[in-house]
Each structure stands twice: as C-alpha cells, then as structure tokens.
Symmetry: C2
Subunit: 136 residues, 2 copies
DNA sequence: CATCATAATGCAACTCAGTTGCAATGTCAA
DNA sequence: TTGACATTGCAACTGAGTTGCATTATGATG
C-alpha cells in the first residue's frame, strides 16, 4: 500500500497482547477492570503494560468485540460482547457477578419513554446491586 | 454535654457551605458533579473548598438528603433527594438531563429476578442515554 | 454575653485511574 | 527480505477524590 490508502476498518494486528486480552475476557466472562485483567494476564504468563491494556480495550470496544460496563466504583470495566444483551447482579459483599436477561422488558419501556418524552434513547445502563445467594 | 455522649444522629451544623450546597441542589435539581456544584456556588458568591464539598455531600448522602447518581463519566454526581424515585434521560449531545418515573415497573422486575435468581436486590442503577428533543 | 468543646473548613500533599508523547519494537503486505 | 506503519512500554502527566492537620466557626452551657 503506497500511502494515501484506506484508513477505515483497519484490521487489528495479531499481537500477543491482543490475543491474550481477548482470550481472558472470553473465558472469565465477567466485567473486568484494568488491574484485574492485568493480573489475569500475568497468571497466564503474559505481562502487558496498563497503557496497552487500555488501548486494546478501546480498540476492541469500537470494533464491538467488547462492551463497557459501569458498576459505579470509579473503574472502567469491560466484558466480552458475544452473548445476548443482559444486565448484572452485583453482590456488594463478595463482589460476585451474575447475569440476568430481561427479554423485551427494557425495549418496551424505552419505546414508551421515547414516545411520551420525545427523547431518542440510544443506550441504557442498568445494573442491580444486592446480596448473592451465598451472602444473604 | 460532659463527653461520653450521644454519638448517633448528629445534627449537622448550620454553616454557610451546608446551607448553600443544599440550596443549589434543591434549585438546580439535576445531578451535579463537584466542579459543577462548586461553580454554581461561586456564581452565588459562595466560595467553598472542594474537600468541603465532598465532605458535605457525604454527610448529606448518609443523612438521606441527597442521592448519588452515576452517568458513567467517572464523576460522582449528587442530586436532591426530595421527589419520587426516578431515572434520567441524559442527552449525550447537549448534556441536558430530564427525569422519568417508572412506577411499579422496576419493582415488578426486581421481584421476579429476586425470586428466580435467589439474589436479594437492594438497589439498582438505571439511566438512559440518547438525544433530547432539541438535539435529535 | 463569655466560655469552650468539638464540628466544619481550607490547604497541601497524597492516591489512584486513566491518558499522552515519544522512542523502540513488532507485524505483515509487497 | 524489506519497510511502512501499527503496537508497545515507559515516564510523565491529568483530574477526581481522599487524608492529615492546623485554623476557624458553631452552638450548647452557664
Ligand atoms: Mn456480563
Ligand atoms: Mn433527578
Ligand atoms: Zn456474595
Ligand atoms: Zn440535547
């Protein structure tokens, strides 16, 4: 490619960090913060700089491979974006995270809101906090 | 009071900062971050240190006068806790915030979830993002 | 009103998550 | 094999939020 080329849809390069991060997220299947992801990677013998992690996650996110999740603890969390759209049950005691799907429910709600509030809903954030079966 | 006294339900002292902060939150009626609150206070001629603001908000929160809200932008936001429980329609373009109530809806959802997931829901976070009537 | 215990404040220094500039390294198409 | 350019690591930085401590203000008590 002789310069002056295709800038869009740049395919990600197959690097060690890229592969490892994606694999951890696919296997662990929970929203992980940078430090968590980093130590998971270390456990597998892959040492990655935090800057690289953030940059990879940003790329994975805009490519739709990963979703950002917020538990309100001031940390960015990311999870694999394979399965169906769902929400989380976060145990405030042991920090475990379970998933829950609300098929149709939110869609219906959003339609109603969009209509009578004249607000075009593009996204939502819904997470539940409480005690898991082991902690309550 | 001769020391060794009532430690609970400490009534807050009537200070300039306390009054001003509460008044701004009651009037502006939107979830404000520290910097926003701080400049609103300045506009009214009240200069308050950010440490004081955070400490006041913490006190107001545990006293139930204020609620913490998270828009996922890495900032703690607080709003007056007078009205009914509600959620927000946040315009991602102009940053305006509207409110929306979902009477019963969430309660019903939570009951169903609590039952078949054996998870005791104590709280939830639900905010909507999109385009307000002026921006869409 | 005067006293004074103690709550509230301001400031500086700190922590911690996340970002940026830049030089060094790695990837992959040609 | 080569070279353009994407990715990485590191150090320095930003910005939100917190903490220790000395100073000031509140309000209960007498
Ligand atoms: Mn999930
Ligand atoms: Mn509100
Ligand atoms: Zn638990
Ligand atoms: Zn708008």
């Amino acid at each position: 490619m002789t310069a002056l080329m295709n800038r869009s849809a740049t395919a990600p390069k197959e690097t060690k960090a890229h592969r490892a991060i994606l694999r951890v997220l696919e296997e662990d299947h929970a929203p992980l913060a940078e430090t968590e992801l980093r130590s998971r990677l270390l456990q597998r013998g892959v040492r990655v700089n935090k800057t690289t992690i953030y940059r990879q996650l940003a790329g994975l996110k805009e490519r739709g491979a990963v979703k950002e999740v917020d538990f309100g603890d001031g940390k960015k969390r990311f999870e694999s974006n394979d399965g169906e759209h769902h929400h989380h049950l976060v145990c405030t005691k042991c920090k475990s995270v379970d998933e829950v799907q609300l098929p149709g429910e939110l869609v219906r709600l959003e339609k109603a809101i969009s209509k009578n509030k004249k607000f075009k809903i593009l996204d939502h954030a819904l997470e539940f906090f409480g005690l898991c079966v082991n902690c309550k």
